[in-house]
């Protein structure tokens, strides 16, 4: 697992430009075949006779999209994904060409005057529009340059640390043929509305969806006392929530398997809106869906810390779930 995480965690995969990550996912799943659609979504099949189960994880990260290059080379942008000014100001960003820059604002501007993203720009150190255009194409997405580190028990990086992808790859490689018809899906453009996942769901028409994602751990100094979701304490079953109904029978099966296999399982409910799950759930008059997550401490929009053991345990649990006859 740690090797897979190490391969993935450094890769920039802004929404709409997930191709580099897609290549590594494809290599990691070989010799199994990955199919890619025109959006960049990947699917890898472990075919069986029974229930068609779609295991979805997302490949993208929140990003900025270049919309205009000023005559003096500064790049104007729009946020892609749910970002605030405070999330991006002063951050180092990287364009697909590999050039990096900083998100800046006029030197004399008071923080109260920064009322919108139109006040910000990206400085890549070029002198004019022509020079910037050599590195940046209008429509390019940046990702955020945040140091990454993956060790035995500690993973540090950005967004979801690519942990759902790593767990999915490990499970696909481990599970072997089962009584279910498995489709491991790696979706693009999740952070801008679950678009890739919606397309995959529409195409595959599964009987059951297992959404692999991260759950925000709340084991920070104060919350820790209250027994909230913690990193290092095992996978998280998001059993229900205010956004959509999860599939109770499969939830119960997951709890039973975790218990009988001595895999720690944290159970919680979601109090937020998961657009991706709603989109998938709404297709074809409702597809049963469960959410299995890896706990991650989130700091701001990008900084994240996780625990390798949680990824290992999530993969073990998922492998055992998929080997059971589902539904």
């Amino acid at each position: 697992m740690i090797d897979t995480i190490n391969k993935l965690i450094h890769i920039h995969s802004p929404s709409g430009s997930e191709n580099l990550l897609g290549e590594v996912v494809t290599e990691s799943l070989a010799p199994k075949i990955c199919e890619m659609d025109f959006m960049g979504n990947l699917t890898c099949r472990v075919e069986g006779e029974g229930t068609k189960v779609l295991i979805v994880s997302s490949m993208d990260e929140p990003s900025l999209v270049a919309t205009y290059i000023e005559s003096d080379g500064f790049i104007r942008f729009y946020p892609s994904g749910n970002l605030r000014i405070s999330d991006v100001l002063g951050r180092q960003v990287v364009f697909p060409s590999g050039i990096s820059g900083y998100v800046g604002v006029e030197n004399n501007m008071d923080i109260k005057e920064i009322t919108g993203f139109d006040k910000l720009f990206i400085d890549i150190g070029t002198k004019n529009k022509k020079q910037s255009a050599e590195y940046v194409d209008i429509g390019d997405h940046t990702s955020f340059n945040i140091p990454t580190r993956a060790e035995d028990n500690s993973i540090l990086g950005r967004d979801d640390l690519k942990l759902p992808i790593a767990v999915s790859i490990a499970t696909a490689n481990e599970v072997g043929q089962t009584q279910n018809n498995l489709v491991f899906a790696y979706a693009v453009q999740d952070k801008i509305g679950g678009r890739g996942a919606a397309v995959i769901t529409n195409k595959e028409k599964p009987d059951l969806i297992i959404n692999l994602c991260v759950a925000t751990a709340t084991d920070t100094p104060v919350h820790k006392q209250k027994g909230s979701i913690s990193i290092g304490a095992g996978p998280v079953l998001i059993a229900d929530g205010s956004d959509i109904m999860r599939h109770y029978p499969t939830n119960n099966l997951i709890k039973e398997i975790a218990s009988s296999s001595n895999i720690p399982l944290q159970v919680t409910v979601s109090n937020g809106l998961n657009v991706t799950e709603q989109r998938m759930n709404n297709i074809h008059a409702g597809i049963p869906l469960v959410t299995l997550a890896i706990p991650v401490r989130k700091y701001g929009k990008f900084g994240a810390i996780g625990d390798t053991r949680d990824a290992v345990d999530t993969s073990k649990l998922l492998t055992k779930i998929l080997r059971k006859k589902l539904m």
Partner: protein, 346 residues
């Protein structure tokens, strides 16, 4: 521009697009002997069958326009209303409107400045929300107002199309311009690709017709033709100008609903270069089109957007450039021709 004049002037708020449909049926069937289809929601389609080994290309635009609808009546005979589509309340006061297909005239009431002066300074410049406005149709009682314009009656702005030379003035260029361009490309282009002319209903209230259209024809490519927002106003910074009227066809790389596949957008840019057509990007990641819904259908549908920048869209009156309109037709035809010839693989 006679077709565009007719399309701009007719009544077509969301859910009441029949007059637009009639104009399109009349125009297309006058040019070619071809049947039309109307789906259960009211979207209109024409299909020109091509060779089986060639792609199915859907030209899509929406028939509806942003408008208003009656939701109530005051005791003194005013109509209370809400917006049908994304309306900016700043542009409403004092505007002339036409109510229902009978086109009953009315005015969105506003208090004169003399009365405003009696308000505290802090309240004078505030925009009144849509629900704070009322339409005056000259009725003297609630019963009279109800008999003239019952609840749910649709309302459009009272704007007549005018040809100012290079500039065209009218209403609902979003998306009658698209309908006009589709009708022209569909009737004028000779191609071996199967062409579907799709005139959808209800885009302004949530892209209602888009899903059915995409499912019905399973296109290999959707070309969305749109009138989009131009922001080339004196006080707008260059990087905030969404598009420029007269700046050529607008190629969207991304909006709030979709990212256009880069290789298709690049093929469009290349086509514009070959044809000597100046183009521009939509410089803001805002708004959305039917592509935002169609992309999810049939296991993923490729979509591209070609638009013209229209000033003051989603308002009572819009302006657009005649050469932009003609160039989106020229670019669309050339692009399809290249697909047909195998120069562009979608």
């Amino acid at each position: 521009m006679e077709l565009l004049r007719k399309l701009s002037d007719v009544f077509g708020p969301p859910g009441a697009e029949s007059e637009v449909r009639d104009v399109l049926i009349e125009y297309i069937t006058s040019k070619m002997d071809i049947p039309h289809e109307i789906d259960n929601l009211g979207s209109l389609y024409f299909v020109k069958k091509g060779k089986v080994d060639k792609p199915v290309i859907m030209l899509d635009g929406h028939m509806d326009e942003v408008g208003l609808f009656v939701v109530g009546h005051t005791s003194d005979g005013y109509l209370q209303f809400r917006g049908a589509g994304g309306l900016d309340p700043r542009v409403l006061p004092g505007k002339s409107v036409l109510i229902g297909k009978e086109r009953i005239p009315g005015i969105i009431g506003t208090t004169p400045p003399h009365c405003e002066l009696r308000k505290p300074i802090t309240q004078r410049d505030k925009t009144t929300p849509i629900e704070g406005h009322a339409i005056d149709i000259g009725a003297n009682s609630k019963d009279e107002a109800i008999s003239i314009a019952p609840k749910n009656t649709r309302i459009m702005f009272n704007t007549q199309f005018e040809d100012w030379g290079e500039t065209l003035k009218g209403k609902s260029f979003d998306d009658r311009l698209g309908c006009w361009a589709i009708a022209r490309v569909f009737t004028e282009l000779e191609t071996d690709c199967t062409l579907v002319a799709s005139f959808t209903m209800g885009e302004e209230i949530g892209m209602v017709g888009a899903r059915l259209a995409a499912r019905r024809f399973k296109p290999d490519l959707v070309i969305e033709l749109e009138g989009t927002a131009a922001g080339d106003m004196p006080d707008v910074a260059n990087h905030m100008v969404c598009t420029k009227m007269g700046g050529g066809p607008v190629l969207t790389f991304e909006d709030r609903s979709t990212i256009i596949p880069r290789y298709i957008r690049k093929a469009l840019e290349e086509t514009a270069d070959i044809e000597g057509i100046q183009y521009q990007y939509k410089g803001t990641v805002t708004g959305g089109t039917n592509a935002g819904i169609m992309q999810y259908e049939n296991g993923g549908t490729k979509c591209v957007v070609i638009a013209a920048g229209c000033r003051y869209i989603h308002a009572p009156v819009s302006l657009m450039s005649k050469s932009d309109a003609n160039n989106i037709v020229k670019l669309t035809k050339a692009f399809i021709k290249r697909i047909d010839d195998g120069d562009v693989v979608i």
